[in-house]
Amino acid sequence: MSSEVFKDATRMSGGRASDEAIVTMEGVYKRFKDFEALKNINFQVGKQEVVVVIGPSGSGKSTLIRCINRLEEHDDGRIIVDGTELTTDVRNIQEIRKETGMVFQSFNLFPHLTVLANIALAPRQVRGMPKAEAEALARELLERVKIPEQADKFPAQLSGGQQQRVAIARSLAMKPKVMLFDEPTSALDPEMINEVLDAIKQLAQEGMTMVVVTHEMGFAKEVADRVVFMADGEIVEVGTPSEIFDNPKEERTQKFLAQIL
């Protein structure tokens, strides 16, 4: 089934984190009026790599990943996604958004559409897929996130965890090359966090390239290939989970981890 969904699922074989970068950020700055949200960000995400971004609130984590699909416009530096540089050119932006999926903290499902229509919308409208094919794809994706029986309900009839899994399925329907997760479990009741994390883990195992902003340190340890620690709009430290969690070099990282662990 997943071979249908991911034509390039074969990339599961072999080692992860190949040299080929899907997302490249070079000297990226982002300012909101006088406030510098991102300062000189240099950062790469390789194919099939899972990067988890952690850091205190207000440190620019969300802004970082929102710049990757141009929900925020960066002020300086270069961002290249899958070989296309983000410029003011609308076509480039559209192109990049087609290749990146995003899952939001607050789900942002379309409340006036059924679950099935939520998922089938983008393939039909952006990729021009026929209705029947798009709905078949949507059902397949619902199967993957383990809620096939909810297809004809409306988002408000689902629990938070189910809604977030629909949101994941909705992003996957565009067959993106990289998935961005913006605190996907922060708005969930504790008992629903795991079902969503499991869905994300499963994606990671299938070789999806992902950037995940999260406060779930256990998840980060388990799934991440690399962990990025951010504070005050800067990348303070990057390393493997064991480097960051067990042996942080920077003082700010040590402080942050001491506070939350």
């Binding site: 699909n69 141009r70 929900l71 559209q94 958004r97 087609k98 990146t100 999926g101 995003m102 939001f104 607050s106 942002n108 499902l109 379309f110 409340p111 006036h112 919308l121 983008a122 409208q125 952006v126 409306f154 988002p155 408000a156 009839q157 949101a167 909705r170 992003s171 565009m174 961005l180």
Partner: protein, 395 residues
């Protein structure tokens, strides 16, 4: 019963006094109205002038056109009203549904019965049956569209023009066939309202989008338009439309009063509608647009697939309220543009020789008010129903 009385009406001294005073006033008002309607009211004036009140001096040989266009309108509305899928699992019982129908359409049926009774001729009865036939046919077509696969496959962009075309065509033919001096009565109010509602809706939506546009010039133009129109009293605009056009256009080719009336109502209501729709758009969380963007949808598609459907649904009550006030405001056109609308006819008939100086203005005004009240009440009820069915506030 006694406990209920004591709890709700006579709980304290103050409550008791209020109950007695308002009870007395209420009973007195009801008694006076009943007495007026059934005892002192002299309804011959309505009966004699019924046709004048409803359609003016509309030529008899063209009356079939009025009947046909009303039937087509009824067909259209009935076909569209049954538009969405009905959940078969929670079907109500027959008696419940019957009760529901009576609550929804009882008033209209009662008014129709009253008019037929007043007209006391077969033609009126036939007309009523014809319109009922239109409703039933529309209902059946609507059901067929939902339940027959082949018909359901036809996209709505073809369906809706198909359903609307007979009504639109017949209304246009009616407008062209009869000279407008002959027009009058409630038919004018009804047509002005319907045409303005149909025209002002798309205009209002466009204006709302214009006001939120990212192009400053479009924003400036639409904002200026909306604020100018909303700043002026409707009556003044109607009077202006009556005289100002002569500055620009020679009277010989100047459009007639009804056309001017419709234009003013359309432009006026569109400005208000624009603000209502804009409010609706603003109530949609930013995350909806962001989710659309993240999926790669362009701005146009985000608007008409994601934000606009939600916005319009959220503002149904306010929209219908605007339409109701447009419907009632059509009487202003009578005063401002010398159109023989139902109110003008109503006051004019009290000056007929047979009724002159008998103080029958009460009867005439009561009848006019009744026509508008039934229309407005049904619209408001149906809007509540629509709101519930689309699940505002639930989803």
């Amino acid at each position: 019963m006694i406990t209920w009385l004591r709890r709700n009406l006579f709980r304290t001294w103050w409550d008791s006094i209020m109950t007695v005073v308002f009870g007395y006033v209420g009973l007195w008002v009801i008694w006076t109205v009943i007495e007026f309607v059934f005892v002192t009211g002299r309804w011959e004036i309505i009966q004699v002038n019924l046709k004048l009140l409803l359609v003016g001096r509309f030529p008899d040989e063209l009356m079939w056109l009025v009947g046909a266009s009303l039937t087509a309108l009824a067909f259209w509305v009935a076909a569209v009203a049954g538009g969405s899928k009905i959940d078969i699992s929670n079907r109500q019982s027959l008696s419940q549904r019957l009760f529901d129908y009576i609550r929804r359409f009882g008033l209209i049926v009662a008014l129709a019965a009253l008019l037929i009774f007043l007209a006391a001729d077969v033609a009126a009865l036939l007309l009523a049956l014809q319109i009922l036939g239109g409703v039933v046919a529309g209902r059946l077509v609507g059901l067929a569209r939902r339940n027959v696969g082949v018909l359901g496959a036809i996209p709505s962009i073809i369906w809706h023009p198909m359903l609307a075309s007979p009504a639109v065509a017949l209304v246009l033919v009616t407008l062209m066939e009869s000279t407008l001096e002959e027009w009058g009565g409630f038919l004018i109010n009804f047509y002005m309202a319907i045409i303005s509602i149909v025209l002002c809706f798309p205009l209002g939506v466009l204006l709302a989008l214009g006001r939120r546009s990212s192009f400053p010039i479009i924003r400036l133009v639409t904002t200026t338009y909306i604020e100018l129109i909303r700043g002026a009293p409707l009556f003044v605009l109607l009077l202006l439309a009556g005289v100002a056009l002569e500055f620009f256009i020679p009277p010989s080719i100047a459009p007639d009063a009804i056309f001017r009336g419709v234009t003013v109502f359309t432009l006026f209501t569109a400005a208000y509608l624009a603000e209502i729709v804009r409010g609706g758009l603003q109530s949609i969380p930013k995350g909806q647009t962001e989710a659309g963007k993240a999926l790669g949808l362009n701005t146009t598609k985000i608007t008409y697939l994601i934000t606009m459907p939600q916005a319009l649904r959220n503002v149904i009550p306010a929209q219908i309220g605007q339409f109701i006030s447009l419907f009632k405001d059509t009487t202003l056109a009578g005063a401002a543009l010398n159109i023989l609308d139902v109110l003008n006819v109503g006051t004019a008939i009290t000056k007929q020789q047979d009724f002159l100086g008998q103080g029958l203005i009460y009867e005439a005004l009561a009848f006019v008010a009744l026509l508008f009240w039934v229309g407005s009440y049904v619209m408001s009820r149906e809007s509540q129903r629509l709101e519930k069915r689309l699940g505002v506030g639930v989803r």
